[in-house]
Symmetry: C2
Subunit: 246 residues, 2 copies
């Protein structure tokens, strides 16, 4: 479990690249085309275009379907802590989360799979656009598969450093001393790959739009990071009763 | 604190609309233009274009600057729980988070400001692209300001329902029984507005790109949701010792 957090962050960023490119049918920017063009468009077009199948959007505009599915609302009951306790808990949670670091050196210590299951289940409680839950979490333990993933990630990341992202990005990262080599993708006992699902399927086989899928998946990643940090890091006042790993 | 969570979710989604439109100089989609066009572009262009000042990107490509700033890395020490304890903690965190609901009815009970500060500080521990921390959290308690925000949000949301998002979206939301009226923006004692900052400024006044700003802010929102849920909701086994609010 040790430094899984950082794998995660890397994987969140990098696997999305991979998916995106495959979803695109491997389209490439044409040589000499400006990197980004200024275009005035309202936010919602951008947001939908970013991660939704736009052909489908247009089809849906012609032949949209009424969702017949009825959803039972779950009764909500809630017990609230007294103010003093809320204060204490919010303070403790902040202090614990504030110890998280985006490290690039990962321990090879094994982690119980039940812990991995629990943190992913926690991530899956995230809210999402129209409750579409547009995420897939894939857990990889096999060394060969991990290594293949590392190769894909490094290949894409090398392109980022050498040409895709531009000199300003490379310069901005310099002080963080990152690079496109990711040894930790081999070292970590477990990789959690996070995929955003840009659409789903209805019972009749028709594509279903996943609204705000990138925002929704990223919120789930935030909860995943919190779950990992909650699970693995011992608060200061308890640290002395546990054996340190370093 | 009660159901702040839901305000948050609404505000995450809706305030971003507002910001985006203002950042755009209030540009509007032209009548008759298709809602979204299929264009083949590599992911990174999309991602940068989505939320970065594209004029600036082009300027930077010509006259980019080396970041001279040196960053000291903070030594990382870490105490890890024994496996049994990790299991227990991951299970408890999942069960607690799984009780969160995106409710639309909010209590007007007051919340100590220190609690709000702590949950925002926890959110601010999120990782971000090139450590740019591209977020601003604004806490609103003034009833008049809250009401103005409600008006802006409802105005935009009404457009979403009536024309912007299209009939499929309206149909998909039907089963969730949401609407564009947001009484809770008046009722909640505190609103936390979350702004993504699409760029910052260097010491010399030049614009600094915030990479992956939307993903980064959304991850911070996930941590904020976790912090709120951790702070306010009493786990089952402790519930009997606290007075219920419902």
């Amino acid at each position: 479990m040790f430094l899984l957090t950082s794998v995660l962050v890397a994987v969140v960023c990098l696997l999305m690249v991979w998916i995106f490119q495959n979803a695109d049918g491997g389209t490439q920017r044409r040589k000499g085309e400006p990197r980004a063009r200024a275009e005035a468009r309202p936010w919602v077009d951008e947001d939908l275009k970013d991660s939704t199948d736009v052909h489908q959007l247009e089809e849906d505009a012609d032949g949209w379907q009424v969702s017949e599915e009825e959803v039972d609302h779950i009764p909500f009951s809630h017990t609230r802590y007294p103010e003093k306790e809320m204060l204490k808990r919010s303070q403790e949670f902040y202090e614990l989360l504030n110890k998280r670091r985006s490290v690039r050196f990962i321990s090879n210590e094994q982690v119980p799979m039940e812990v991995i299951d629990n943190v992913i289940k926690a991530a899956g409680t995230a809210p999402s656009g129209a409750h579409t839950e547009p995420w897939t979490f894939v857990v990889v333990k096999d060394p060969d598969v991990k290594h293949k993933i590392r190769e894909i990630v490094e290949e894409e990341e090398e392109i980022n450093y050498l040409k895709r992202m531009g000199p300003q990005w490379v310069s901005d990262l310099k002080k963080l001393r990152t690079k496109w080599i990711k040894e930790y993708l081999d070292t970590a006992p477990v990789l959690i790959l996070i995929f955003k699902r840009v659409h789903g399927f209805a019972a009749n086989g028709k594509k279903k739009i996943h609204y705000y899928n990138e925002i929704s998946v990223s919120i789930a990643c935030g909860i995943l990071l919190a779950a990992l940090q909650m699970t693995k890091t011992v608060p200061k006042e308890l640290a002395s009763i546990y054996l340190p790993t370093l």
